[in-house]
Amino acid sequence: MSAVTTESPSRLSALYRSSRARVIVGFAVAAVLLFAVAPATLSTFRLGLLGKFLCLAMVAVGIGLAWGRGGMLTLGQGVFFGLGAYLMAMHLKLADAGPVEGSGGVPDFMMLYGSGEVPGWWEPFRSPVVTILAIAIVPAGLAALLGFAVFTRRVRGAYFAILSQALAAAFAILLIGQQATTGGTNGLNGFRSFFGYDLADPVNKRMLFFLAAGALLVMVAVARQLMVSRFGELLVAVRDQENRVRFLGYDPAQVKVVAYAVAAFMAAVGGALFVPIVGIISPADVGVVPSIGFLIGVAIGGRATLLGPVLGSIAVSWAQTSLSEAFPSGWIYAQGALFILVVAFLPGGLAELFTRWRRSRRGSVPDGGAPAPGDDGTSDGSRPGAARTGEPGSGDPTVEPQTAVDHDPATSGRTA
């Protein structure tokens, strides 16, 4: 992305200022990096690692939408990630086990822990079509159902966060408890093929990476369209002044449900692609701890920006992989410190620093005049979304997604 954000020569500055062109250039650069530079320079192992990071970044895009733009602190994205992953893993296990007529079609771990029979609710996932449909529908549907239940009753803020976290806890406990059908703590692993393609073949591994890269690019594009649309404006408005939106005649619950379901869908796709790329999914990837871990990359990058969550998530994943190899306990301290420092002292993430730096370099351009007219600021993640909330005269670039909540306990969460 750096090519977009560095200062352009004056001949290109007109093009650079046009937001549409910036978006297109941004996507072109990302596409070149992902589809040409990365496969040419990285080993198969490193490429697989980057593919894993891209899958986690998909979850981050959704969190950026739901949390950064919508103010819904969702601590349970691991559930949707896990649902997508487990649905995919079930299909892969069944496909590896072969057809029912031949070897019996029973996945290996079921022979080990279970009765040696495939439970009825596994059977539909022999079909690739059913599996893909289920990945697209089930997690988003669950999110819509839960979202509808809680948002229409105006359960929000901390209460929603706690409920979503409890959902993650319940999901992980359920997975661990049902070892005969879910693999328990070990999870599902040892996949040999992906829709008929051998997973051991480097060519197919590269194909999977391209699939993940393509999916991520599409998601970023979708997220950008949502953010600049009327829906995106409404979502930010709900985040900042839910009651005002309600009094204007909109239904905030509907807006939130849509954003939550879209975030769940993105997490599910990330999970579904995570399985063939990484080769294992277990409760350790979906419980309370990983669910909240998804948030740190989003917070570092800049929760309300378009690219902040993606870049932050990839950077954190990379740091985790390289740090935890060298210093096993060091990463946990680093993660804790990041949560504390970034969220407490830099709520806008690195995007906020970048904005400050760019403004100071351009000289004291009056706030609000700095961005070019019609500039939506989303193509390079340089401007926090709060600048778009339409608060007149708001010169503070600090992202402040939560409205100032007073200390009355009955108001800090939900309506009486």
């Binding site: 601590l75 809680v150 959902l167 309370v288 009955a410």
Partner: protein
């Protein structure tokens, strides 16, 4: 009848553990709207306090009695430190406090892992708490009874402090109307700090109590924090009454579901019940009525 009694007691016992874990949260979350994810780690700190005290004292009975106040002090001081360094900057951003305190929780867990080692350690229960007493034809472990009694004592003590003492009056005033309390000359800063100290200290006591139930490890807190928050949410904030009822109700529900299904499915069912319950009463069981809109 035996089954009914044993289920009832299992539920009450679980409820008392939940109550001890959630009581401090009800105070910090209820008064300040601070979501302290490190509360579980304060429990862990209390548990390790009991472990260290036993290493020093030796006698299990004496060490338990020393550990209870000391655990309160350790948990409370940790809470005070957290409030003074981080949380007081963030009263306007309650959701962000959640993430910051989660970071603190991660660090505290790792500190415990580095100091005491990753494997679980055991704290011996005193002799006068070993064995069981016969209650309505049911053999009830004495440790469970002790925890139940401890929970009751903690609730009563907290209720007395809140209702009778000047400190309690200040706390209630700040809970009900922070601005008016401040205008009336109550130092809300000092009240916040003291409340946080007491709430975190209760976590320390809960941690000491947990050492009676089994071995303790660095992730002790994580296994209780989610349930404890659910208790507070279902109970409604601002009053201790709701937390007490919710803790025992959830304990009984969990025990009942566990009896008829498995432990893991019971967890999921309890979660579903809470979501459905919040449909009916989004503000929880007991809530302070206010005129506020948001």
């Amino acid at each position: 009848m035996d089954v009914l009694f044993s289920q009832l007691f299992a539920g009450l016992s679980l409820g008392s553990v939940l109550l001890l874990a959630a009581l401090g949260l009800a105070l910090t979350f209820g008064q300040m709207g601070v979501i302290n994810m490190a509360h579980g780690e304060f429990m862990m700190a209390g548990a390790y306090t009991a472990f260290v005290v036993q290493g020093v004292v030796g006698n299990a009975g004496v060490s338990l009695l020393v550990s209870l106040p000391l655990g309160f002090l350790v948990g409370g001081l940790l809470g005070l430190l957290l409030e003074a360094t981080l949380i007081h900057r963030m009263y306007k951003r309650p959701l962000d406090t959640l993430l910051v305190t989660w970071g603190v929780a991660l660090v505290l867990q790792q500190v415990a892992r580095d100091v005491f080692g990753a494997p679980n350690v055991d704290v011996r229960a005193p002799a006068w708490l070993s064995g069981a007493v016969d209650l309505f034809g049911l053999a009830v472990p004495k440790t469970r009874l002790f925890i139940l009694a401890l929970a009751v004592v903690a609730v009563v003590a907290l209720a007395v402090v809140l209702k009778v003492t000047p400190l309690g009056r200040r706390i209630r005033a700040v809970v009900q109307n922070r601005d008016l309390a401040e205008a009336s000359g109550v130092s809300t800063r000092a009240t916040d700090r003291l409340t946080f100290f007491i709430g975190s200290g209760l976590a320390g006591i809960a941690g000491v109590a947990l050492t009676l139930l089994g071995s303790i490890g660095p992730t002790l807190g994580t296994s209780y924090i989610v349930d404890a928050f659910l208790v507070v949410v279902a109970g409604g904030i601002g009053q201790i009454k709701g937390t007490v009822i919710a803790a025992f109700a959830l304990g009984l529900l969990q025990a009942t579901f566990e009896y008829s299904t498995t432990a893991s499915i019971a967890k999921v069912l309890v979660f579903v019940v809470i979501v459905v319950f919040l449909q009916v009463r989004p503000q929880g069981l007991v809530s302070v009525r206010t005129r506020s809109l948001a």
